[in-house]
């Protein structure tokens, strides 16, 4: 599989339900980030979890990281129609003083009102 594969590729839920997206990566990382992108628009940073952290919360978002399995999950609780977007897992490796981001293919989330 490729670096940063998200699972599922597409997810459709009802408003109020929770959405869980998973991601795997291949190389060692400094941190892992999740971004969202509304259709054809820019990338918005959601949350960053460092390689020595296992879980992080931010509002309705909960991210877990398992470096032994090279996997992460993003949970969005009490989803809203406005959460409809593509969500990308991004593995981050520091190299040569700058950070190299490797994006996954993304999960397309649709939240139905």
């Amino acid at each position: 599989s490729q670096q940063g594969e998200e699972d599922p590729q597409a997810l459709s839920i009802q408003e109020g339900e929770n959405a869980t997206m998973n991601c795997s990566y291949k190389t060692s990382i400094n941190n892992l980030q999740w971004y969202r992108q509304n259709s054809g628009r820019g990338l918005v940073h959601l949350i960053l979890i460092r390689s020595n952290e296992r879980e992080k919360h931010s509002g309705r978002l909960r991210v877990t990281l398992d470096t032994s399995k090279k996997s992460s999950s993003l949970l969005i609780t009490a989803s809203r129609a406005a959460d409809t977007a593509s969500y990308f897992c991004v593995s981050v490796r520091t190299q040569g003083g700058s950070e190299k981001l490797v994006f996954g293919k993304g999960t397309k989330l649709t939240v139905n009102p």
Partner: protein
Amino acid sequence: EPEVTQTPSHQVTQMGQEVILRCVPISNHLYFYWYRQILGQKVEFLVSFYNNEISEKSEIFDDQFSVERPDGSNFTLKIRSTKLEDSAMYFCASSGDYNEQFFGPGTRLTVL
């Protein structure tokens, strides 16, 4: 809140023409990046730039591409002779020291 800006939002050009995509990173950031996203595909890293030089580039970033920081605020990506396959969304990003990268809204490049 400071943000990364990009101009133009949409650029249409003829194959073989040169294009310059412009970005204004967040003012106190030190690291600058370009990414591209071909329609329906992954966001791909192109190049990172620090201290007025390229720190890393991908295989995509061949001799047709160049980056420049011509003054204290702008960061540009030049494609010398555009090809049809260069059509994509190009994102600029900037970051402080080992912090999250902040992305601009993107420039949609269409090569005809």
